[in-house]
C-alpha cells in the first residue's frame, strides 16, 4: 500500500505543478522518479516519453500510466493516473467558479507570466540531462539533430518524426547485427 501511496503522491505533485502542458512535466518526473527515487533510469525514461508521445492523449497522463505500470503494475498505473488528474480536477473547478473574479487580479497574471520563461529553462535543462544519459555516438548525434530540425524548422508532426526514427533505428541495429555476425 505504501508504494501505491508514494506513486500517488509523486504524480499528485507532477499534476499540481506542470504548467504549460506536455513536456513541462518532464523536469518534475525526472527529478522525482529518476534522480530522487531511482525507480527508472534516464534511458528508460526516454523510452517512456517516446511511447507517451506516440500514443493519443495527454503526454503527462500517458507517462504517469507507464511509470506506474513499470514500477508496480496495473494498480500502480491507477494510482499514478489519479495523482496526475486530481489536482487539475480540483483547481479547474475552483477556477471555473471564481474565474470572473480571478482573471482581473493583476498579480496572478504576473505570477504566471513569470512562470512561463522558467518552464523554458526547466525543459532546456531536462533535455541537456537526458542528452548526457545516452551514448555519444555519431548515430545519436545525427538523430537528435535530424529530429530537432524536422520539428523546429520543417514543422513535421512529432509522431511522423518518431516513426521515421524508429524505422531508422531498426535498420541501423539490424545492419550492425549482420556485420557482427559476419566478423
Amino acid at each position: 500500500m505504501d508504494t501505491y501511496l508514494k506513486l500517488f503522491w509523486i504524480f499528485f505533485r507532477v499534476g499540481a505543478f506542470t504548467f504549460g502542458g506536455g513536456y513541462a512535466m518532464v523536469p518534475i518526473i525526472q527529478k522525482e522518479i529518476v534522480e530522487k527515487k531511482g525507480l527508472i533510469s534516464e534511458t528508460e525514461f526516454l523510452d517512456i516519453i517516446a511511447v507517451a508521445q506516440s500514443l493519443p492523449g495527454a503526454i503527462a497522463v500517458n507517462t504517469s500510466v507507464f511509470v506506474g505500470y513499470k514500477t508496480v503494475g496495473v494498480l500502480g498505473s491507477v494510482f499514478a493516473l489519479l495523482g496526475t488528474v486530481l489536482p487539475s480536477l480540483f483547481i479547474i473547478i475552483v477556477l471555473a467558479i471564481f474565474y470572473n473574479y480571478i482573471k482581473d487580479i493583476n498579480s496572478i497574471q504576473l505570477f504566471f507570466k513569470g512562470v512561463r520563461p522558467a518552464i523554458v529553462a526547466l525543459i532546456f535543462m531536462s533535455a541537456v540531462k537526458l542528452a548526457k544519459a545516452i551514448d555519444k555516438t555519431k548515430f545519436n548525434y545525427f538523430i537528435i539533430t535530424a529530429a530537432f530540425l524536422a520539428i523546429a524548422v520543417l514543422d513535421i508532426h512529432p509522431i511522423l518524426v518518431v516513426i521515421a526514427c524508429a524505422c531508422t533505428g531498426l535498420i541501423y541495429t539490424a545492419r550492425g547485427k549482420k556485420e557482427n555476425d559476419v566478423s
Binding site: F17, L46, N62, I93, I143
Partner: protein, 174 residues
C-alpha cells in the same frame, strides 16, 4: 444521457488527439464548440486562459471545465474519466508488451532510433516555448536567472516554478 454524451465525446478527444498539450486543442474545439456547442468561442478562449494558470494536462483541464459547466462536479469527473480512458488502456497494454520484449532485436532497434529522437523533440518543444514565453527583456531576465539557478543549485523544479512566479510579480510590476 448527458453523462454518456460527455463521456463519449471526451473518449473521442482522448483517443484521437496525438501530440499532447496544445496539439489537442483543435480537436477539442471542433467537438465542444462546433459539434456539441457546449461552449461558445469566447468560453473556449477562457479555457485556454484558465489552463495557462492551472497545472495539469490541457485536455484534462478542458474536460473538467466543460463537464463542470454543463452538469456539475459529477460531469467533470465523467468527462475527465473519458479523456484519460483510452490512454490508460493503450499505455498499460503497450507497456506490458514492451517490458516483456525489452531485450528483443525489434524493440531494441526501435528504441535505438527514438531515444535520441525524443531529445530532439524536447529541444524543439523548448524552442517553440521560448518563442511564446520570452517576449521581452524582463521575461528573458527571468528565464536566464532560472537557468543559472538550475545549473548552480539542486533546487526542485517546483521551487523554481514558485521563485519564477514571485520574480514575475516583482519584475513585471516595476
Amino acid at each position: 444521457m448527458m453523462y454518456l454524451e460527455l463521456f463519449l465525446t471526451f473518449l473521442k478527444i482522448g483517443g484521437f488527439s496525438f501530440g499532447g498539450g496544445y496539439a489537442m486543442l483543435p480537436l477539442i474545439e471542433e467537438e465542444i464548440v462546433y459539434i456539441h456547442q457546449w461552449l461558445s468561442q469566447q468560453e473556449f478562449i477562457d479555457i485556454i486562459a484558465i489552463s495557462q494558470m492551472s497545472p495539469g494536462p490541457i485536455a484534462v483541464n478542458a474536460a473538467t471545465f466543460v463537464g463542470f459547466k454543463h452538469v456539475g462536479i459529477l460531469g467533470s469527473i465523467v468527462a475527465t474519466f473519458g479523456v484519460v480512458f483510452t490512454s490508460f488502456i493503450l499505455v498499460t497494454t503497450l507497456a506490458k508488451v514492451i517490458i516483456k520484449h525489452y531485450k528483443s532485436t525489434v524493440v531494441t532497434g526501435i528504441f535505438t532510433g527514438i531515444r535520441p529522437a525524443v531529445i530532439g523533440l524536447i529541444g524543439a518543444a523548448c524552442v517553440s516555448l521560448f518563442k511564446t514565453s520570452i517576449v521581452d527583456y524582463k521575461s528573458l531576465l527571468i528565464g536566464f536567472t532560472m537557468l543559472i539557478l538550475l545549473s548552480k543549485t539542486r533546487l526542485h523544479p517546483i521551487s523554481i516554478i514558485m521563485i519564477s512566479g514571485i520574480m514575475g510579480v516583482v519584475v513585471f510590476s516595476i
